[in-house]
Each structure stands twice: as C-alpha cells, then as structure tokens.
Assembly symmetry: C2
Homo-oligomer: 346 residues x 2
C-alpha cells in the first residue's frame, strides 16, 4: 500500500546524467528558448537512456494548472452520453486537455463524491448533465465556489447557467407535428422520470402543448425508469384503453426502441398499428427494423462545443447558452393513421 508509483527518472537524474542543470533539461523538455545544439542532443540522449518522463504532478504544482476537465454524466450505457463524451474528448485533446469521467447512474449521492474528488484533483472545469438544471445542489455548490462548468443537454430556464442544448420543448412539438400531420389524434408519451431528467419533462411539454393547441386531446403520460419491465407495463396499460393511442412519443431513443420491440412482440405492427417517435438520434435507431423516426441531437458536436464554451468561460467569457439545432430524422416507425380508424371516429 505504499510505493505504488513507479520509480522513474526525475529531471534531476537527467541533469546529472547529462552533466547540465535541471533548468536546461526543463527548457528542452518544454521546447523553450534556445538551447545549444550539442547540449540539446546530449540531453535528449540522456532522456532516452533514462526513459525520462516528465512528472506532470510537479509541473502542475508549480504552474497551478492541470489541463484536466471533469465530465459527469448520468450513465455511459446510453449511447447519447457515450457519443457526447467522445466529442468532448476529441476537442479536449486538441486543446491539450485530459478528462476525468464519472457517471452517477442517476444517483445524486455518488455524484457528490465524484465531483468532490475531481475538484480536489483541481480539474480546471466541468462538463455535466444533471437531473434538473434549475434546481441542482451540485450546480449551486459549483456556482458558490466559482468553478467553471457548462451543462450539456440541460437547458436552464430560470437560472442563467452556461449550457449547450437543443430546444427540447420545440423538439417535442416537432414530434407532435409529425403525428398530427399523419392524422393521429390519440397519442401517448412514455417519458423518463421527470425527477431524473428535465429534458424528459420539456419534451413532454412541447409535445403535449402542440396537441392541445391543435384542439386535440392531450397525450396519455407514463413516466418510466429505464427498465424494460417498466416500459412493458406502460404499453400494456395503454393498450387496455377502450380507444388506445395510435401514436407514441418517447422521451429517449432507448425507450422508443424498447417500445417498438414490445409492441412487435405483442403481434402488433410498428408503424402499422402504432407509430413511434423517439428523441436523441442514437445509431441503434437506424439499425433496427423499422428504423426509428426521431428528433436527433448532434451529440458529438455538442460535446465539442461544450469544451469550447468551457474554455471561453475559463478565460472569462460570458456566453451562457449555446442552442444547438435538432434534426428531424425520418425513419420507418411513423405512418399515416389507418383509414379505418378515421372512419370509426367519424
């Protein structure tokens, strides 16, 4: 439990080995100023021989910089987050930053500790997705301690926290518009728990409002966690209605894919009997049959933009919201409501 850190050559070892001062070695390692050609060669050889690897910890302590960002996501098992982390890393690496990643699996407790650790490690900023952007203890503390951070996917409404997000309400409305365009009047929303995700709630609102504004009955709402059993029960419940919905909007693609699988396994057809729209735009949606119609977020790009915004922040930038465009992605999971349905209604 003691000397886990591998014993490695220090800058002093190199200096001694090469017969120069540590300052010279430092200069060479960091490509600074001019160093005599001969000396440079000589020292470079010593570095090779001793397998010298500059100890970033020493440097960090001296310079008070770590070049590390922290990332906090609910889970990596949802590809939408995995993708965004990929984008973040791409951009961060370009800027010379590494990333400390943590997921909270939708448990607020873990989050606390993980962020604590990150802050103790002096990450220079954080990128995170929280349950509720306007009402987050974590963000409160970050604000209080003046830690630069940017939210990803969250779109704060009442607070003016820095964020990169799509307009979830508009996205939900877009889904509704599509259903209505195809003649659907009886709809349902299967959404992730509102208490776990402000996005889920916003998407529902946008969807619901559109139906209302068209004079159509409001959608039936079911909140679910991400277990399949849960979704199954929700579907069963919906189908037991005397006049079941012909269109289901899901707050995430994972739920939508699950819904399609369940409906199909029940001997019904998507979109033949029921049309489905998801939200996120994960790759899997395009792999399955029928392919998923969805409101697609540019996750990878959002990750990259978040890094840029975070770096701006650190430099004192003031931009607070970067709204990203979502894209309606037409798949095969939506179709015109059956004529017979229309007749029955008439």
């Amino acid at each position: 439990m003691d000397e886990a850190l591998i014993k490695r050559a220090t800058i002093k070892n190199v200096a001694d080995h090469a017969g120069v001062s540590i300052a010279t070695v430092s200069r060479i390692v960091n490509g600074h100023s001019t160093v005599g050609e001969k000396v440079r060669e000589h020292v470079t050889k010593s570095i090779k021989v001793l397998k010298f690897r500059p100890n970033v910890i020493g440097r960090n302590l001296k310079t008070s910089r770590t070049h590390v960002f922290g990332i906090v996501v609910p889970t990596l098992s949802n590809p939408v987050f995995a993708e965004m982390v990929g984008g973040i890393q791409e951009e961060a690496r370009l800027a010379g930053y590494s990333t400390l990643v943590t997921m909270n699996e939708y448990q607020e407790g873990e989050e606390e500790m993980a962020v604590e650790t990150m802050l103790n490690n002096r990450v220079e900023g954080l990128i995170l997705t929280v349950a509720d952007a306007d009402n987050s203890l974590l963000c409160d503390r970050l604000d209080d301690e003046d830690i630069p951070y940017v939210l990803l996917y969250n779109k704060p409404e009442t607070s003016k926290r820095c964020a990169v997000a799509v307009d979830n309400v508009a996205g939900g409305a877009r889904a509704a518009e599509e259903f209505v365009k195809f003649g659907h009047t009886r709809s349902a929303v299967i959404a992730g728990r509102f208490s776990d995700s402000d996005r889920s709630q916003a998407r529902y609102e946008g969807f619901s409002n559109y139906f209302k504004s068209e004079g159509l009955p409001p959608p039936l709402l079911t909140e679910v966690d991400f277990s399949k059993a849960n979704v199954k029960a929700a579907i069963a419940e919906l189908l037991s209605h005397p006049n079941p919905p012909t269109a289901i909007f899901c707050s995430t693609d994972i739920i939508a894919i699950s819904v399609i699988g369940i409906i199909t396994s029940l001997g019904l057809s998507v979109p033949g009997d029921i049309s489905v729209i998801g939200f996120d735009g994960i790759d899997f949606g395009q792999l399955i049959q029928p392919s998923l119609t969805t409101i697609s977020q540019p996750s990878r790009r959002m990750g990259r933009v978040a890094v840029q915004l975070l770096m701006d922040r650190i430099e004192g930038g003031e931009e607070t919201l970067r709204l990203m465009p979502f894209r309606f992605c037409a798949g095969e999971s939506v179709t015109r409501v059956k004529q017979i349905e229309v007749e029955i209604l008439a």
Copy 2:
C-alpha cells in the same frame, strides 16, 4: 491562458486562520493521530469558512501516489465497453481511485499520445483493450517501462500478459454448436476486422473449427468495419450465393443487430429464413424483435475484476489470466432450419 486554476485556500491559509501549524491541519484533514478536541473543532470551522479543499496535487507530489487509473478502450459507442467502464469505475471508486478514460476509435496513433499523457500524469496502472494482445506496441512499451496494466476482453495466447477475458474460441464454438443442434449446415460469419480485434478472430476460429469438426462445410467469412453500409454489402453478397447460408454468426452484437435489421428490411425473416447469433450480451439485444441470441460476457463484472487484478499487480501479484465464464443467452433469433431446406439438400 494563465491562471485557469481557481484560487483556493491552502492548508497554510487554514493554519493561519485557526492559529495552528499546517501539520495540525494536515492531521485533521487526513484523520490522523489524535488531535485535541478543541483544536479539531476550531480548525474544522476554519476549513468550512475558508472552503478549504485539500490540493491533491501537493499531496500526490509528496506521497508519490495519485490514486488514478487509466482506461483505454477502442470506443465508448459500443455499449460493451461503456458497460465495462462502468464496472471499472464502481470498483475503482470503492478502492479510492479515479479514472482517466481514453478511447482510440480504433486508431493506434491517438492511443499512443493518450497513454503518454496518462503516464506523465502518473496513473498507477492501466486497464486496456487493444487490437492484438500478443502483438501490441503499446503493451511492449508498458512492459518495458514496468507499468502495471491488465488487458480486458483481450486473451493473450503467446504472451503471458495479465488479462481478464472470456474464452472467445469456446464462445464461437458454442454459437456453432447451437446452429448445428438446430440442423443448420450452411453458415456464415460476419466479423469485425481481425486486424482491429483479436477477439473477432478467436470467435471466428472457434466457430469455424466446430463446423469442421462436425464434418460440415466451413462458414463463409466476411470481415467488416462497423459501418452499416459494409454489413449491408456483406449480406447482399451472402444472399447472392446459389445456396445461401441459413445461419449467420456475428462477432459482436452490434453487427448482429445490424444484420437482423438488414435481413428484415429485405423482406426476409429472422429466424424464419436465417438464424443469427451475436456475441457480447449488450442490453439492446434484448430490446429488439426478435430478441438476439448471443454469447454474453459479464462486462460489468469483468471491469470490476480487472480493477482487483490491477491492484494485485501493483502489490506485486503474479496472477496473469482471469478467465471469465460466458453465458449462452437464448433469444428468438435462432430456430430449427426449415424442413424444406433439408429436403432440398437430400
């Protein structure tokens, strides 16, 4: 570009504020030895007031420990890796470790640099999945520099590198056995590029060998990268055969899901016309219709075990291979070969 690190209270500030020495503060922060009750209270208050957060960098420099592991995976977009990273983090956190994660997107170049950065940051060990365990420049360097690491998913054959993996050959054979049991004789394998994945190759071998050992014709092999277009072409090619295969084994679930989608969209049925088996056991396989029959790896647990093994290593442990059991996961994507097929052959 200069003072990105937030100015925070140091241990000295706390000491001054509380009117004690920094040694005392340190003791309290680390819960060491006995400290007078009054002093402790007083100092604790100062810590609160000044929002003191111990600077781990200083500690790391002093103690030569970082409590950080590095993780290198090909991609996070494949849930099998996302899941394993989840397992790693769970276990690592329990042991008081954080993790620096990097993905190489199957590009060897990025990997080099990322690992370099990790080593400079003095990670205490690495957990990685490489293209070819027995033939990896990265592992060579790690060996050379005596950096503790454990491979995950890779199962070294010729080298005795430390690894946590399932028996991919046996897994492939298990898939073949299932097909044969159901009367299939003409098979195909759609596998990830062997040059990208030694697992892919091993799974193919196991599958292929089983067929041969049963006196059946060897499977048709197609290597693909992870683009859908690629898989589509592979399927088209297979179906154009005069006597196309009735069973397809895919080296990963992602490929399998893609294959099922494509076959279905072609108007054929899985498993009605063609049976499919995947490998990995990702959640999505159970979400789709038909649910995927697959050789499932305990990814999350493997991640946890990898952490344990890595810690053993660091302590001087010698264990080199932890073989994990795969689980045959029966879905709905496999069925008995059609009688008519059998007749045609007869």
